[in-house]
């Protein structure tokens, strides 16, 4: 059978962000794929070296447009470790609260994108409508829907009063009911099943070979979660389950992410109920003593790594960012091998790629 090369991207209606994919197809089957990224490369790692630590908090926030808060969390806790600062517990709780709200928002956004790709527009509309509940809460808390600017070096910038905490808790009940509806659809709706079962499968061995992290790894049976395995912020105070599935396909990833959203809601409730009193931030000096730090967080897409080196000045000598999408992209060719052309968007959506993150 003759081979046809299909270029997808960098600009393409099926892609939300620029990415270039060259697919070689024999009939309807993909036999080869090549990937090229870098269309959203902004040279951020170089920019970090030319800004001081305080300015960098705002640059770091712009690495990703979806999980902006976890980036500042990883960066700030790294700088705080270099400075030897003791962050007040209330600040850690508020940081964690935002991290979990962000995870719910990211997972619901992803569910919508996936549903749209498989032609299930109803769920797309519902998921994005209900995501607004979380976005509204985050906007009321911080003033921003996407870029929250909550973290500062030494603590947080926002506070929450008990009355407002009650109003959040009331809205969580609505949201949880909606997520239950989504879970029902994922488990029982035939359209959803046939488009996601067995698609984009990664075995546990493949996940380990490509160092894939986060929900994609957990959907393939790799039980790893930085929140439990290397607790940061207030995660050691929380009681939560790490969701693991074994099928390794897009369906399993949907289950993992949706159930994680429910788990995150529980964690937000715990945080709001047990919020300790006290100051919100400690003063941080502008100059950071020489040293280095490796700071790891669990972003909505998995393990996020920041390496920061200080030379004693007010600017970092090096900030290295490894976002969870990069290893996921490395494993993409395995998932595209031998699938139907019609399943390509599902596979691309299934890994929850964030190209801006990967390109930096």
């Amino acid at each position: 059978m003759s081979r046809i090369t299909i270029p997808i991207g960098p600009q393409h209606p099926a892609l939300k962000e620029p990415l270039s994919l060259k697919l070689v197809a024999e009939g309807e089957r993909i036999v080869e794929s090549a990937l090229r990224i870098g269309y959203a490369h902004r040279g951020l790692e170089r920019i970090f070296q030319n800004r001081n630590y305080v300015q960098n908090v705002h640059v770091v926030e712009r690495v990703c447009g979806i999980c902006s808060h976890v980036h500042t969390t990883a960066y700030c806790q790294g700088v705080e470790a270099l400075l030897g600062l003791e962050v007040p517990p209330r600040a850690l709780y508020l940081r964690t609260l935002l991290c979990e709200l962000e995870r719910i928002h990211s997972h619901l956004l992803w569910l919508g994108v996936l549903a749209e790709h498989i032609g299930f527009t109803t769920i797309f509309m519902y998921a994005w409508r209900d995501r607004e509940i979380v976005l509204d809460i985050m906007e009321e808390l911080s003033g921003g829907r996407v870029a929250h600017a909550v973290n500062v070096i030494g603590g947080v910038r926002i506070d929450i009063d008990p009355e407002y905490a009650h109003s959040i808790l009331a809205r969580f009940d609505d949201l949880e009911r909606q997520i239950e509806v989504f879970l029902g659809v994922i488990l029982h709706e035939r359209t959803f099943q046939v488009r996601t079962h067995g698609i984009g499968r990664l075995t546990a061995e493949q996940v380990r070979r490509y160092c894939v992290v986060g929900p994609v790894a957990r959907a393939s049976g790799i039980d790893v979660d930085m929140r439990r395995d290397a607790p940061y912020a207030a995660y050691d105070q929380l009681d939560f389950r790490v969701i693991v599935a074994h099928e390794g396909d897009v369906w399993a990833r949907t289950m993992v992410r949706t159930m994680e959203s429910v788990e995150s809601l529980q964690m937000c409730r715990q945080l709001l109920h047990a919020m300790p009193e006290g100051p919100l931030a400690v003063r941080a000096p502008r100059r950071v003593p020489p040293g280095e730090v490796v700071s790891r967080c669990e972003a909505p897409r998995g393990e996020l790594v920041y390496y920061i080196r200080s030379d004693g000045s007010d600017r970092p000598a090096r900030v290295k960012v490894r976002t969870p999408t990069l290893p996921a992209l490395a494993a993409l060719s395995e998932q595209l091998q031998d699938i139907n052309i019609a399943d390509v968007p599902t596979v691309l959506a299934g890994v929850d790629l964030c190209i801006a993150c990967a390109d930096r």
Partner: protein, 169 residues
């Protein structure tokens, strides 16, 4: 992963290497190796400790040398550090041991001009196809805005030409 056992094994296998284990926040052990021993060390870590999760490879130009940091993780962090000369810097690829290292190596190679011998696809990764400048994370490489002639209060043609998609001067 038990870091003490790992350090013991590294001492045993590479007695002449500096190692100098240091613990840095947040729970990361940094071990220094000579460049030619990184690959055997990784092989040993995989075989004896099943340590296969490579989180990242950081490359740093310190001004005197190029430092490479291989960040591993299994319950806690382990970083293998090695230094390459700035001129003609190259080392051996890890991708046959850890396929996930492919993208990390391509990024380091592009940003710092470190060659990974044996890497099958060392082509452009993050930088534009028409990029003709120096590797951007090397010391002394000017930023695009610094190459513009802003001293006389005028924006040079270089900046405009980039927007037209022509090759950078």
């Amino acid at each position: 992963m038990n870091v003490d056992l790992v350090l013991e094994a590294l001492h045993e296998h590479f007695p002449t290497d500096p190692l100098e284990p240091r613990i840095v926040p947040v729970d990361e052990t940094i071990v220094t190796l000579t460049p030619e021993n990184v690959r055997p060390a990784v092989q040993m870590l995989i075989e004896r400790f099943d340590l296969r999760h490579l989180s990242a490879i950081t490359g740093i130009d310190t001004g005197d040398e190029i430092e490479l940091l291989y960040h591993f993780w299994d319950g806690q962090g382990l970083t293998l550090r090695t230094s390459l000369p700035r001129e003609n810097s190259h080392t051996v690829t890890l991708i046959d041991l850890i396929p996930g290292a492919a993208f990390y190596e391509r990024e380091v190679s592009e940003m710092l001009h470190v060659l990974f011998d044996g890497h099958p696809t060392p082509d452009r990764f993050l930088l534009p196809d028409d990029w003709e400048g120096e590797p951007p994370l090397r010391r002394g490489v000017p930023l695009a805005c610094q190459t513009d002639n802003l001293e006389n209060g005028e924006l040079s043609d270089q900046r405009h030409s980039r927007f037209k998609g022509e090759a950078r001067p």
